[in-house]
Symmetry: none
Subunit: 173 residues, 2 copies
DNA sequence: CCCGACTGTTCCGTTTACGGAACGGAAGCG
DNA sequence: CGCTTCCGTTCCGTAAACGGAACAGTCGGG
């Protein structure tokens, strides 16, 4: 893997918080040269250095290393979904996705097996989704839930891309 | 964090696979001295070294780091949560966790910053959570949401462990 | 036995990541 | 215009992480 990726991640996180390189270096107890080289990917940081920096950023290690590329991703006309986790329980199997819905397009999805339900939590944007003949709308922070054994649709309301988490529940037959 | 913890984890993973230190070092392309020191916690490994070893073990980086996020969320006796993803957009930063709540114990969590909200979707079991003075209850498939700028509690109802996804929303200041 | 092949640890020279200091550049202020 | 105070990068001596080799210990076979 590429240390440059980690570096870019650190720089992005730092700038999100509006902290300067100098202050972050001081707070984390590392040299400015160290942090500079780390962000540029020209150094090969030690565990101790990474730990100090991520701790000061208030970010768990995983935030630096989450690699979506290897994860299975489903692309549709409007929807891009990446599978985060599969969870199996005595009653049902669950699939948790992160979903993005591009604006301006409506995507239709065929019916799933009987009893399958979908649960959506919207992060950003406004999402219209649900049974194709009676979709529901949820703004950022909202939550929707419907039985998806009928054809259903996904669409972003307005021109902002929608980000959401999608939980699919498949009851055990 | 303690490099000795990482070392023990690597050794445990290696022995699980029945691979000797020598062969793992050779396969990963690192020196035996390096791997030996890493497993003993007497060295401060670089990102490159950790990467090579974990890749050869077929283990994601996160497997080495038992305790991902002590920061924004406080986890303790009843709740164990693992961070799945961090998502930042113009209005807020989101953290998506998979959460497990052990039965028989109630865990209290201190108030977060003003405006922080929590969204929970229950996979399995029955969860009672929300503001400590007025918790809500959700069965499998249910969804809860509350503003977490007050102390709040988590508890499993009944004797079944609860599995859920937890979305934390931090509004941008 | 004794040998070969293996285990994991330790020694050691080379490479390099480390922090402190010095650097040029960009604001903000009198 | 100076002067100060930040910013991020570069230079550099030191500390240490690196891989290769040598080490003792263990097992199995001839």
């Amino acid at each position: 893997m590429d240390p440059a990726v980690v570096g870019r991640r650190v720089r992005a996180l730092r700038e999100e918080q509006g902290i300067s390189l100098s202050t972050l270096a001081r707070l984390a107890g590392v040299g400015k040269a160290t942090l500079s080289g780390l962000e540029h990917g020209t150094r090969n940081p030690t565990l101790e250095t990474l730990w100090a920096v991520t701790a000061q950023l208030g970010v768990p290690f995983t935030a630096l290393l989450a690699e979506p590329a290897a994860e299975p991703t489903v692309h549709g006309t409007a929807v891009t979904a990446t599978l985060l986790e599969v969870f199996t329980d005595t009653d049902a199997t669950y699939e948790l996705y992160r979903m993005r819905v591009a604006p301006g397009v409506t995507q239709l999805s065929p019916a799933h097996a009987p009893g399958v339900t979908e649960h959506v939590t919207v992060f950003a944007g406004v999402l219209r989704t649900g049974p194709a003949d009676a979709p529901l709308t949820a703004p950022a922070g909202g939550h929707l839930r419907w039985v998806s054994d009928v054809p259903h649709s996904y669409a972003a309301v307005g021109d902002e891309e929608v980000a959401a988490s999608l939980l699919l529940r498949y009851p055990r037959r």
